[in-house]
């Protein structure tokens, strides 16, 4: 009897597998077709447009578009002119945005996660409060921040109670590094630094720092994303064995030392995830600029993502717009790879150096010895 059943099963086996292959592809078909048609194919099409002079008339695959080689890329990167100038400014603005947002949001979200990782009453309420801004739309948050930071708005009212006069925020194009430098008596025109130019922007303007207007977007980014990253850190923190912390506490380790030598090494993978996601996200800022400033004042909140959109849709210079998108893609890939390289290495080196049993205590002892 048993052999009979087994025999039946064996005989049906190829049939099932045959169905399985057909069904597998059938189940995958919608996803593959849509990803192929709306992701891979368009990338190829945009690559062609970035090498063409298409101006938005007719189809980019038809007679209206001509091959211009690297001209669009040259206009952005090497040929002096308005295109290069706008692109340089967009890169500068976004660079400072990334430079400030990524470390601040990482630190704030880690700090919040450590705070709400304790066994406290109402901790659920606090987690919810910190996470809520992350679920709201970028449009609603941007409007909220335009209101908070309007020249006679909430923030400036608060500052006036403290006896300070707030800036006009979204209308203030001054770079904050310039403002600080001028406090120390630097020449407002930048002296000889104004004579050298890179990507259409003078050295002095490269060193401007984010404009006051851009600072509003920086604060907004920290406000909206810290909740998401707090949850990631919280998951990492909950993976830490409590006994390790207790042992350290018995040895008289201070809170800071526990944080520095136990928490941080143990959540290192999460830390790198957060930094990578932060880098990818901050280089793509678009919605907030579209809703909040369209690049004003004086192009100081212009970003490559918005510039790419504006160049194509408003100025009908589709070739340059597509080229900006590809350069932005390159920038994001570059930073992702760099972070990945950085995440790989620290794992490999200590393994060879480690003489003690593995684990956080061993690591923390090691780093204490080194320090």
């Amino acid at each position: 009897m048993a052999t009979h059943v087994a025999g039946l099963l064996r005989r049906r086996e190829p049939g099932i597998r045959g169905h399985e292959a057909a069904a597998g592809w059938l189940f995958l078909l919608p996803v593959i077709v849509i990803l192929g048609l709306f992701l891979l194919l368009p990338i190829a099409m945009a690559a062609w447009v970035s090498f063409s002079d298409w101006n938005g008339n007719g189809s980019p695959l038809g007679a209206h578009a001509h091959w211009v080689g690297l001209a669009n890329y040259r206009d952005l990167l090497t040929t002096p002119g308005l295109d290069q100038n706008n692109f340089g400014e967009a890169i500068r603005n976004n660079f400072y945005y990334v430079l400030l947002v990524v470390p601040i949001q990482t630190a704030v979200s880690l700090f919040l996660a450590v705070l709400v990782n304790r066994r406290l009453k109402f901790v659920g309420f606090f987690r919810t409060a910190f996470y809520f801004p992350s679920v709201t739309s970028s449009v609603a948050i941007t409007i909220l921040f335009l209101f908070l930071f309007s020249p006679s708005g909430v923030i400036n009212k608060l500052l006036s109670y403290l006896g300070a006069t707030g800036p006009s925020w979204m209308y203030d194009p001054d770079g904050i590094f310039h403002l600080v430098a001028q406090q120390f008596g630097a020449n407002a025109s930048g002296g000889h630094l104004a004579n050298h130019v890179f990507l259409g922007v003078t050295y002095w303007d490269w060193l401007a720092g984010p404009s006051v207007a851009m600072c509003v977007f920086i604060i907004m980014a920290v406000f909206t994303t810290s909740g998401t990253f707090m949850l990631l850190f919280l998951a990492g923190l909950q993976g830490i064995d409590e006994s390790v912390n207790e042992a350290a506490a018995l040895d008289g380790a201070s809170e800071w030392n526990k944080f520095r030598h136990i928490t941080v090494p143990m959540i290192r993978p999460t830390l790198f995830t957060v930094v990578t996601l932060g880098l990818i996200g901050t280089w793509q800022i678009f919605d907030q600029i579209y809703v909040g400033s369209k690049g004003s004042p004086l192009n100081t909140t212009l970003t490559p993502a918005y510039l790419s959109f504006d160049t194509s849709f408003n100025q009908n210079n589709w070739g340059a717009g597509a080229a900006i998108a590809f350069i932005l893609f390159g920038i994001i890939v570059f930073f992702t790879l760099v972070t990945r390289l950085l995440t790989r290495n620290p794992d490999k080196v200590p393994r060879r150096r480690r003489f003690e049993p593995t684990g956080p205590i061993a690591d923390s002892k090691l780093s204490k010895v080194e320090a």
């Binding site: 849509i34 992701l39 368009p42 449009v139 309007s150 579209y290």
Partner: protein
């Protein structure tokens, strides 16, 4: 004896220190929570203010006088209902179809054995890595090429699948035991039937997660709707309210109106968030552990 006293004394001081510590923690948490919550509170209050009141007293928590003018303006304006209607149409179509298609593909990748499965999965992972903003122009080009520009199809179809959703579903299916399906398979049930009536009910937690992510994502989506349609009759809430925000039209700053619109726009996502709060918090934890 003296040693014992000493220990007791240090115990007492340790307790005092701990109490002091938790009082500090609480005051600090409350202060930070105020920073996170106050902007939303003040924006709700402001939407009930008159415009001169909102401009002159941005910090006041008591509107003077209390007015629902902003909401009347929005409801008198047919555009706002068009935006709501479009947002609902797009979000519901995208969410339900995406959950279905992503889970179907995730199931195939996790359970069905066929040639090319590894390559298909690798492609999907690679696609996940392409940043969305970079695709705005490419997507516009293809939507136009297909004659879908300025239609619901152009707004909906490109959003129907997302690689991250396929990834989540695949991981989930791999985490549940295969035995139930196997016995159904031996009983001769068709693969789609197994998927539909056995696997999907078991996958409810992952489906709910995907539902929340898709709903939130498509309700809050702005960039894709900017590039896929231009008619005002196809404006979604995000696009309509964004235009409201940038259109100055010489009629003052209109903050009560804009904030009222943003608040109304936030309600569906906020409701979903509060219903599934626990799951949302756990979902992102689960996603990271993978």
């Amino acid at each position: 004896m003296s040693a014992q006293v000493h220990t007791m004394r240090s115990d007492a001081s340790a307790t005092r220190r701990r109490l002091f510590g938790s009082a500090m923690t609480y005051s600090f948490l409350v202060a930070v929570a105020v920073v996170y919550i106050f902007p939303f509170v003040i924006s709700i209050i402001t939407s009930f203010k008159t415009e001169p009141d909102a401009t002159a007293n941005p910090l006041s928590v008591t509107p003077h006088p209390v007015t629902t003018t902003a909401f009347h303006q929005l409801s008198a304006d047919n555009d706002f209902f068009t935006w709501v209607k479009n947002s609902i149409i797009v979000t519901l179509s995208v969410t339900f179809l995406r959950v279905f298609l992503d889970s179907l593909a995730g199931y195939a990748l996790a359970r069905l054995r066929f040639r090319g499965r590894g390559a298909a999965f690798a492609t999907i992972v690679a696609v996940m890595a392409v940043p969305g903003v970079v695709l705005l122009i490419p997507k516009f080009l293809i939507i136009r090429q297909f004659g879908m520009y300025d239609t619901y199809y152009g707004m909906i179809v490109p959003l129907l699948v997302d690689a991250a959703g396929v990834f989540i579903m695949k991981n989930f299916f791999e985490s549940i035991p295969v035995s139930v399906e196997e016995s159904a398979r031996i009983d001769g049930a068709s693969l789609f039937r197994i998927y539909w009536s056995i696997v999907l009910p078991m996958a409810r937690p992952a489906l709910v997660t995907l539902f929340i992510l898709s709903f939130q994502g498509s309700w809050n989506e702005l960039a894709h709707f900017i590039i896929s349609a231009q008619s005002t009759s196809l404006n979604t809430l995000t696009k309509g309210v964004a235009q409201l925000a940038s259109g100055q039209l010489g009629s003052g700053n209109r903050y009560p109106l804009k904030l009222a619109a943003s608040m109304l726009m936030t309600i569906p996502v906020a409701v979903l968030f509060f219903i599934f709060q626990r799951r949302i918090m756990n979902a992102s934890e689960g996603a990271v552990k993978e």
